[in-house]
């Protein structure tokens, strides 16, 4: 099997990262932003997996990306809980409207 060249993977990861970034910066709803963050995680995971072809014996990249997914799931659980609490308090989940720390 012919290995997919590294450049393709990196470009895909970069595209994914940019998409996630765009979602994070432009979306209003907190949950949509959380989704964007998931895209960013996945872009990072793709990089980890892509660079793992230089270490075929120990598969450190794949293992590390599995950890990332696990941590991301936990983080998403916590973040959703926070979003719920925020919604309860502010009656909105739009991040632009929540600017109490405005200096």
């Amino acid at each position: 099997m012919m290995a997919i060249p590294l450049l393709h993977l990196l470009v895909l990861g970069a595209i994914l990262f940019c998409l996630g970034l765009a979602i994070v910066l432009t979306k209003r709803h907190a949950i949509a932003i959380l989704m964007g963050i998931e895209l960013l995680f996945n872009a990072a995971n793709l990089n980890l997996v892509a660079f793992a072809q230089y270490d075929p014996d120990r598969l450190q990249g794949q293992v590390y990306s599995l950890f990332v997914m696990l941590i991301a799931a936990c983080e998403t659980a916590v973040a959703l809980a926070i979003v719920l609490q925020v919604f309860k308090y502010f009656k909105t989940a739009h991040l632009q409207d929540i600017d109490q720390l405005n200096g």
Partner: protein
């Protein structure tokens, strides 16, 4: 009480010290009129009858005190007490102790009685005369204060205290001349009297300086004692200054030529005031001063004094002979008689001057009070007739052309007037004859001892006797004889012949008139040699060692005949020209030389031209200079305002601006920083992203 206290602390220097009773009396004498002044001035309007009884009562007590002092002093050794007034350090380290005190001798005693007596009578007279005046209480307050100051002037043992009292009586005279200050003439007359007196008082002040420079004391008696021991040849100039200064002071106060112009105008005051101040007491103070200081005068001063005196006597009588105002005649007569007195001191007979001062005080006060009655009567008659408001009669109630025939309406007043006028012209059996004869005798003796031209002086003296007789007879004929020229029914002279005027007005006049008879002054009606008064006064006065001819020679009998002849001549002149005088005075304004005499040779106008106009011109000049200076100052200040405006602009835009720029920029920086912390989590994220990008650029380029 301070006065009493200080008087009790005194130590004697000259003469006997005063006993306790005498000290209390002196203090009371001074304090009682002062007390009545204070109570009337402060509470006069609230007292019943506006407090005239208070003033009269206190004055009666003062008179009693004066009589007591008279009884203690008359013919005895003089009494003197003094206390240390203040200490005066000298440039050479010495300290001169200034003493002040009272000196009581025969002269002081008799003057005290005179002043309190006439003051009392004038106050009683004023009850009727000033009735209903708006400032009735104020009037009595002023009279009381005047008397207090006059008594202080007489009691003072030194020239400094005398000068203070001298100024005070001058001030009271000013207040009383201008008593009816609503009349412009009265206000002007009071100012004039005050200013003219200032000229004389400058002389007095110089004399005080000279006196202290020579004697190092102001005490008159101590200085007299020093006079013999001083090297006076060396002090000639200062002594001349002293003499002429005192003479100038006396010329102002006693209305001598050329400072006599204030006295005729002073007649704007109430008539009783004229009687008290401008006939009997204050104007005589100048003569009193000259007599007291007689030993200090050098022969030059005495000669000047004699000439000024007799000249004043002569021109005063000339002016009196053409007046139409009843009071003006008496005013010029007073000037004339004061001239006699000054002449008397000048020819070395101060005792004769003081004798004339005393007799003159009685009959001239009487004449003035009588003129007051006449004015009062005319005023009431006119008021009754025309039912117009009092004091607003359209006629001049003092003008003799509106009088005539008053002997029918005012018979008692007429008799009193006749007697007092007789005393003034110097008829035998009246007091004025004795004193005037003494003065004329002294002037003749002076002429006999001196050069030939000195006979001019008694010559003018006798001519003045003639003029005096003329103007008094003229006044008598114009006022009391003939027919009433004011066409009023007889009954409008309110008072029936039996009760012509209230007794409070008539009694003082009668008392003064009786005192114009000879018996009160000398047993012999024709000679002052037998007078009980003159030797005692002479004993109070020190002799003048500079005076060449001071020896009193024998009685010169032709003086009596000559002066009598003059009186008869003057009287006859007035009597035979009476028709012409009445006709002329009544119909035509006086013209020619009469006009000159009436206006005292236009002396007032001359002063207006020579002194007043240049002074006013100078005033206007300085006013203009002031304007120019003002303008300059104004421009200067404008410039300053412009400069300060510029500086203010710089302050506002440069200095303040710099500070504001600093503030503004830090504010902007703050804004910038603040805008980063906008609370929006997405923007934070964007910023950190940009930061990351910037970091990467920095790392790889």
């Amino acid at each position: 009480m301070a006065e009493l206290q200080t008087l009790l602390l005194v130590a004697p220097v000259l003469g006997q010290s005063l006993s306790l009773l005498e000290r209390v009396t002196v203090a009371g004498l001074l304090l009682m009129p002062l007390l009545s002044f204070l109570s009337l001035f402060l509470f006069g309007r609230k007292l019943p009858r506006h407090g005239d009884w208070l003033a009269i009562g206190f004055m009666g007590l003062s008179l009693t005190g004066a009589l007591f002092l008279f009884s203690q002093v008359w013919g005895q050794t003089p009494l003197h007490s003094e206390f240390t007034w203040f200490l005066l350090p000298q440039p050479n380290g010495e300290v001169v102790s200034m003493q002040a005190g009272v000196y009581l001798d025969n002269l002081t005693a008799v003057m005290l009685v005179l002043v309190t007596f006439i003051s009392l009578l004038v106050m009683v007279f004023s009850v009727g005369y000033m009735k209903g005046d708006a400032l009735y209480a104020r009037y009595y307050a002023y009279l009381s204060l005047f008397t207090a100051c006059m008594l202080g002037l007489l009691l003072a043992d030194n020239l400094l205290v005398l000068f203070i009292c001298w100024e005070l009586v001058g001030f009271l005279s000013y207040l009383l001349i201008g008593f009816w200050y609503q009349r412009q003439a009265a206000a002007k007359a009071s100012t004039k009297a005050f200013l003219v007196n200032r000229i004389g008082d400058v002389g007095f002040l110089w004399a005080l300086f000279a006196f202290f420079a020579v004697f190092k004391t102001f005490n008159i008696n101590s200085a007299q004692a020093l006079l013999a021991t001083l090297p006076l040849q060396a002090e000639q100039g200062v002594m001349l200054l002293l003499g002429f200064g005192l003479l100038a002071g006396a010329m102002g106060k006693s209305a001598q030529f050329p400072l006599q112009v204030w006295l005729p105008d002073a007649m704007q005051g109430p008539t009783p005031v004229s009687a008290l101040i401008h006939a009997a007491t204050m104007v005589a103070a100048g003569v009193y001063l000259l007599a007291r200081c007689f030993p200090f005068f050098l022969p030059e001063v005495l000669l000047t004094m004699a000439i000024i005196g007799v000249f004043t006597a002569f021109i005063g009588a000339l002016a009196a002979s053409q007046q139409q105002d009843i009071k003006k005649v008496l005013a010029f007569s007073t000037i004339s008689q004061l001239g006699y007195m000054v002449m008397g001191v000048g020819v070395g007979a101060p005792e004769a001057s003081l004798f004339h001062l005393i007799t003159h005080a009685f009959f001239k006060a009487s004449l003035f009070l009588i003129s007051g009655i006449v004015i009062h009567a005319i005023q009431h008659a006119w008021h009754h007739h025309s039912n117009k408001i009092l004091f607003e009669a359209p006629i001049d109630v003092q003008d003799m052309r509106n009088m005539g025939g008053l002997r029918m309406m005012l018979p008692l007043t007429f008799v009193c007037y006749g007697i007092s006028a007789g005393a003034l012209v110097g008829l035998p059996f009246f007091s004025g004859f004795l004193s005037k004869e003494a003065l004329l005798l002294a002037s003749v003796q002076w002429a006999q001892a001196g050069a030939g031209w000195q006979w001019l002086l008694p010559g003018f003296g006798f001519a003045t006797v003639l003029l005096t007789a003329y103007y008094m007879a003229r006044q008598l004929l114009l006022v009391f004889f003939g027919r009433p020229r004011l066409k009023l029914p007889l009954k409008s002279y309110k008072y029936s012949p039996r009760q012509e005027v209230s007794w409070t007005m008539l009694a003082p006049v009668m008392l003064l008139t009786v005192l114009s008879l000879w018996v009160f002054f000398s047993w012999s009606p024709l000679s002052s040699e037998q007078s009980w008064l003159v030797p005692q006064i002479a004993s109070a006065l020190a002799a003048n060692s500079f005076f060449p001819a001071n020896g009193h020679q024998a009685h010169i009998s032709w003086i009596l005949y000559l002066s009598l002849a003059m009186v008869v001549l003057g009287g006859a002149l007035a009597f035979f020209t009476r028709q012409a005088v009445r006709a002329k005075q009544f119909t035509k304004p006086v013209m020619g030389w009469r006009y000159w005499l009436k206006n005292q040779f236009f002396l007032n106008e001359a002063y207006a031209f020579v002194v007043v106009r240049p002074t006013l011109a100078l005033g206007r000049l300085t006013e203009k200079t002031d304007h120019i200076l003002n303008y300059g100052l104004h421009a200067f200040s404008k410039g300053f305002v412009a400069i300060s405006k510029l500086i203010a602009w710089g302050d506002r835009w440069v200095v303040d601006g710099a500070v504001q720029v600093v503030g503004w920029s830090s504010r902007q920086v703050g804004h910038l920083g603040r805008s980063l912390q906008n609370g929006n989590i997405q923007s934070y994220y964007l910023f950190s992203l940009l930061g990351l990008v910037a970091l990467l650029f920095w790392l790889f380029y």
